[in-house]
């Protein structure tokens, strides 16, 4: 089992979701996140005064999958989120110790699927 955490541009969420559906990955958690990478923020202005916004709006996706689905999930996220511009985001993949479905008590791969 793998836990895939991806940070993407907020406006790409819809396309990523569509790609994930195509790859038959239907389960995910989405949260708003703030962060920065190479891009080093952007500038807003408030009453004519420049304001450096260091942390950018991003969307964080968390998807737990069985090993067989990991590559398809990653491909789908990349396909949906890539524009080629700086700021497209990153994907982190890590091993997942266990998973328990609260309603039934199922564990492991069965609980994820």
């Amino acid at each position: 089992m793998k836990l895939i955490i991806a940070y993407i541009q907020p406006h790409k969420l819809n396309e990523v979701k569509q790609e994930l559906y195509k790859a038959k990955v239907y389960k995910m958690s989405v949260t708003n996140a703030l962060g920065c990478g190479q891009q080093m923020g952007y500038h807003e202005s408030y009453r004519g005064v420049d304001e450096e916004v260091n942390l950018l709006k991003k969307v964080r996706l968390e998807i737990a999958v069985n090993d067989g689905f990991a590559q398809a999930t990653i491909d789908a996220i990349v396909k949906g989120a890539r524009t080629g511009q700086i700021g497209d985001g990153k994907i982190f993949v890590m091993p997942l110790g266990d998973c328990i479905r609260i309603r039934t008590g199922e564990t492991g791969g069965e609980a994820i699927g």
């Binding site: 907020p10 406006h11 969420l13 819809n14 708003n32 807003e44 408030y46």
Partner: protein, 449 residues
């Protein structure tokens, strides 16, 4: 003690008025009463700008909130100057062949109390027509393009059709004119279902159609187009806007007597109230049956639909007729939103077209059905079809004018400076892309929809 003194003074004042009798009041007093009445009600109508700003902000997404309040502010500010410079002259200047006025442009004088009073009363109506459009074109229009458009509607589009009906033009049936030759009475649009609301509504419809839908509104998949919704980000704010609009309508309709001496003021306030209430009831139950749940934003649209529909007939119908008109308006607005959203597929984020255009038309025709005074007799009160025919001619003529002119203006703007923001700007939100300034700095919300 103070209350007692006030009561005694008021009583003495009333006695004094009664002693004169209405016809015998000194002219200075009647013109003072008219001055107070018009300036006060115009201020109420001005406050409707706040109502529009809140309704449109509440019913759209958080990432566009600064942009939409800026549009609502600036259409009044630019529009009022344009209406002073050009609009007033086209609407109320000396009539030319029944089509437009031709004097009093840039009127720059110091001493004409009735002009100042009338101009102030009229400018807030012009601004109402202009601001309707920002809702229909919300969330995807370039700010500068909207500013250009708003000058055009306040300077030319609204004043010309307004002249036809209110400024002594051909729809007011002058002797020897088109309507008089047909034996038809003047079109009756008391406070502007057509003059104000239909004109704004048609412009909103044409604007939204020329712009195209927001990204993600109509999604094509497997050969089928599915319609998506973008829920408004602050329903309580929108509801406050509806209450403010309703409050402002007590200036819009009762003020349109144009005189504080009119005995009709009370009845107009009653018909206005009943139609708004019935509009809400009509939309509530229509949405309840149709969507299985009483829908808040549809019910709000119902209030506004009832108000728009009673705007033309408010002075010539009975309270019972006002209830019927309101109920029908509430039904129409829900059906019309569904039709425009799902069948015609023009993306109108706040329902501006259904509220102002469709119910503006319905309200104008309602005069010809429920009209119940000596001068305006509708179908149900023995007037036959003549009043209804005048109303229909007016509706059609104004529709043609408003659509053609709006199309020309929007199409020209599209070709010359562009009408729509870039897709990535639309996705980021117009607050950041157009103004570089957020409405809710420091708050997190989903800006990915």
């Amino acid at each position: 003690m103070r209350k007692k003194i006030t009561a005694v003074l008021l009583f003495a004042f009333a006695l004094g008025l009664a002693a004169f009798g209405e016809d015998e009041l000194p002219i200075a007093l009647t013109s003072a009463i008219d001055m107070l009445w018009l300036v006060l009600t115009a201020a109420l109508v001005f406050f409707m700008q706040a109502g529009f700003a809140l309704v449109e902000t509440g019913l759209t997404r958080a990432k566009n909130a600064s942009n939409i309040v800026m549009k609502n502010l600036m259409d009044f500010c630019l529009g009022s100057i344009a209406f002073w410079a050009i609009g007033w002259g086209l609407m109320y200047g000396a009539d030319k062949i029944g089509l437009f006025g031709s004097s009093e442009f840039f009127k720059n004088i110091m001493d004409d109390p009735s002009f100042f009073r009338n101009w102030f009363f009229q400018v807030v109506f012009a601004a109402t027509a202009a601001t309707i459009v920002s809702g229909g074109m919300a969330e995807r229009t370039q700010f500068k393009s909207y500013l250009i458009y708003t000058v055009c509607i306040s300077a030319v589009i609204y004043p010309v059709s307004g002249h036809w009906i209110w400024g002594g033009g051909w729809l007011s049936a002058p002797e020897g004119g088109f309507l008089a030759n047909l034996g038809l009475p003047a079109m009756h649009d008391f406070a502007g279902s057509t003059v104000v609301h239909s004109v704004g509504g048609w412009a909103a419809f044409i604007g939204a159609a020329v712009l195209g839908p927001r990204i993600g509104k109509y999604v094509k998949a497997n050969g089928k187009t599915s319609v998506k919704s973008f829920p408004g980000h602050n329903i309580p704010l929108a509801m406050l806007g509806v209450f403010i609009l309703w409050f402002g309508w007590y200036g819009f309709n009762p003020g349109s007597t144009l005189s504080g001496m009119s005995p009709d003021i009370g009845r107009i306030a009653v018909t206005t109230t009943l139609a708004a209430a019935a509009g809400a009831v009509g939309a509530l139950f229509t949405s309840w049956i149709w969507f299985k749940k009483p829908d808040p934003s549809m019910t709000m649209n119902g209030v506004l639909a009832g108000l728009v529909a009673i705007t033309a007939p408010c002075a010539v119908v009975s309270p019972g007729a006002a209830v019927v008109i309101g109920l029908i308006a509430g039904l129409i607005v829900v059906l019309s939103v569904e039709l425009i959203d799902k069948v015609i597929k023009v993306d109108d984020p706040v329902g501006a077209v259904s509220v102002h255009c469709v119910n503006g038309i319905f309200g104008t025709l309602a005069v010809g059905i429920w009209g119940n005074t000596d001068s305006v007799k509708g179908l149900l009160h023995g007037g036959g079809l003549t009043q209804l025919a005048s109303q229909a001619i007016g509706v059609a003529a104004v529709a043609l004018w408003a659509c053609a002119m709006s199309f020309v203006v929007f199409f020209a703007i599209k070709k010359i400076v562009g009408l729509r923001v870039k897709p990535e700007e639309e996705m980021r939100g117009l607050d950041l892309s157009e103004h570089k300034s957020e409405a809710y700095a420091g708050f997190q919300f989903f800006s990915n929809m």
